[in-house]
């Protein structure tokens, strides 16, 4: 290491750079300016076309609901086990295809018509939902038990393993699930659209349903983590895993349960998303990215962070497509990138993130 010590002298100018004031104030001012500008622009556009504002706002909120369902599973698994499940999007996609396949069987292929003439009974939607969630949950569990369990603590290796699994799932999905992008039929007892109060606007009912499910799920998860023994162990595990195992708690069982739950949530997202939007072979990349962004913004392992992150992403996503100047709406991806940069510049661990 003698060479390394010699290097220190050469690096003096770098340490001087380090001593510069961090510029935190300037950074905060810049962030405030950006946020203020966005607020003014959105208000201006909203004033110009309030009807559009309402619909686009609802689009954003309902998307955020879907994103939260998916990302909550991702963040749960990470928070407890430090496993970045790169196959999370693949599980989302698989659940969609499983449910679609099952629903087609149940209804004899009649229900998949895209329009409101849905002939799927409540059971034709609920049964695929439950079966797909459980199936994907079991796949997640097997993944964890067979491949990840004995690599505990080697987070990079675990991430690589889940990447390998996602490659295989993507290719096998291609081989076994044919057909064009379809969507699951919502139960026929659901109305197709609802009238929004105080206006003549209609809005898709199922999207609002997804938002409600997301809110209910958020509350349930919160209650579970705050109030149950399982939640207590999870919370303790997020803070200090060694300590938890030292207390004689069967941490492996908790890990297995959490992985199952996390995968099941990906599955729930897949079925909700498959009904609200569509089931497609590109879903895995899409929803992996969404899960990543939501937890990077919100902070890994934090449920509240996932909610805030999902909300931010959903709103930016849907307003960006509409409120950018005409001809430039295709730059909306830059807004998401900007959101990411903004958050990471101020809080490298995300809004609610804590150091591991």
């Amino acid at each position: 290491m003698s060479e390394a010590t010699a290097g220190v002298a050469d690096l003096d100018w770098r340490s001087r750079l380090a001593a510069l004031p961090p510029g935190a104030l300037a950074l905060r001012i810049a962030v405030a300016v950006v946020v203020g500008f966005v607020a003014v622009w959105v208000s201006y556009k909203a004033y110009g076309d309030p009807r559009q504002f309402v619909i686009v706002g609802l689009n954003g909120l309902t998307l955020a609901g879907l994103y939260f369902v998916v990302a909550s599973g991702f963040t749960l698994i990470f928070g407890l086990m430090r496993v970045v499940n790169m196959a999370h999007g693949s599980l989302y996609m698989l659940a969609g295809f499983f449910a679609l396949e099952l629903q087609t069987k149940l209804t004899g292929g009649e229900a998949t018509s895209a329009f409101g003439s849905s002939e799927a009974g409540l059971g034709d939607w609920i049964i695929p939902l439950v079966v797909a969630c459980l199936a994907v949950g079991v796949i997640g569990l097997v993944m964890q038990q067979v491949f990840l369990r004995w690599n505990q603590g080697q987070d990079l290796r675990q991430a690589l393993i889940t990447i390998a699994i996602s490659i295989i799932i993507a290719d096998q999905t291609l081989a076994h699930f044919g057909g064009i992008a379809e969507s699951l039929a919502a139960p026929d007892s659901f109305p197709e659209s609802v009238h929004l109060p105080f206006s003549d606007l209609t809005y898709p009912f199922f999207r609002i349903f997804v938002l409600l499910v997301a809110i209910a799920l958020g509350l349930c998860l919160w209650a579970m983590i705050q109030r149950t023994r399982f939640g207590m162990i999870v919370r303790a595990g997020v803070d200090d895993r060694q300590m938890v195992s030292a207390l004689g708690i069967n941490i492996q069982l908790v890990f297995a349960a959490a992985f199952f739950l996390g995968a099941t949530l990906a599955g729930l997202g897949g079925v909700l998303g498959g009904t609200m939007i569509s089931v497609d072979k590109a879903n895995d990349t899409q929803y992996l990215l969404i899960s990543l962004i939501v937890v990077i913004i919100g902070g890994m392992g934090s449920l509240a962070g996932a909610a805030i992150g999902a909300l931010a992403l959903g709103l930016v996503d849907s307003f960006g497509d509409v409120y950018l100047p005409a001809g430039y709406t295709n730059y909306s991806i830059l807004l998401i990138f900007g959101l990411l940069v903004l958050v990471l510049a101020v809080r490298p661990l995300g809004l609610f993130g804590r150091p591991a």
Binding site: G7, I163, I165
Partner: protein, 350 residues
Amino acid sequence: MNRSALTPERALWWGPALVLTLILVIAPLLFSDFYLSQVLTKALWLGIAAASLIFLAAYVGMVSLGQVALYGIAGFTMANLVEADGGSPIAWNPWLATLVGILAAVGAGLFFGAIASRSYGIYFLMITLAVAVLTYYFFGQVTQFSGFGGVNSVERPAIVSNPVTDPVNLFYIALLTSAAVYAFVRYLARTPFGLALQGVRDDPSRMRALGYNVPLLRMLAFGLGALIAAFAGIISVWWNTRISPGSIDLTRTIDVLVIAVIGGLFRLEGAWVGAFAFAALDNWTRGLDVVGQRFNTVIGVIFLVIVLLSPGGLMGIWQSITDFLGRRLAGKPPARPSAGARASDSPQPS
């Protein structure tokens, strides 16, 4: 270690390396134009891309999935600035455009680096992956620079002959660039800067205590990684004569990761070893009925097996073999257990 002594281990390392290098140098005499271009040249630039990943992983401890996005930025910038079909209407001199493309990638690398350099380990991996996928969507959506169809028929500097009809020039360009990248990284590892980077890899807190600006070092390293990736991006555009979002999608990002892991994530040579294995496998399986259509499953399973069984990749396996044979030849008793697995444990390529 005594640098000059020719131990059997060393012979087993350098012998095959020399033979392989020699084969590469005279490759245009040995292989068909098609194989030269579609397997060897492709492997060389994929290897450069993987080398940028391995450089960051092995020397700075930053496993980045953003390298393909960075080479995409170099490639797209260059392709937009020269005469081409699609993208912007600017038509600069190809060399100038190449230079600007490389600078753009380095600039983007420094910028991403500034954002991500305060994140470590798996966070860093996630942030770079998010950036990579966002970059893919950016070029897919912004038709002013690319759009789904990409930029086609990109003009090349005169020295880069038509890669279809006359692939030899491009092969040597890729070979020389690979050699230069390899030599540069090996040299860099011994400079004070390189040693500081390795210090950051091993113990960031201690380096901070020693007065180093750790985020700055990591940012600069990421910029260097971007420079290496940029070479791969430029050569890939010359080789393809086009670049499109499909050239930098998640599959390609993972391909480069797979190459690095197959070769050996912590040995620089592994980049090209992995790339040759990958390109040859790709080409070979495509001709097979059964597995040809399911190439990605094959790659996924191989990747999984490597990650599970030999984290050191092919280089790790080879190291185990040479260690074993070397000891046998030298008549020494087996000393170290499972060197292949340990290669990744203590990444010390220099």
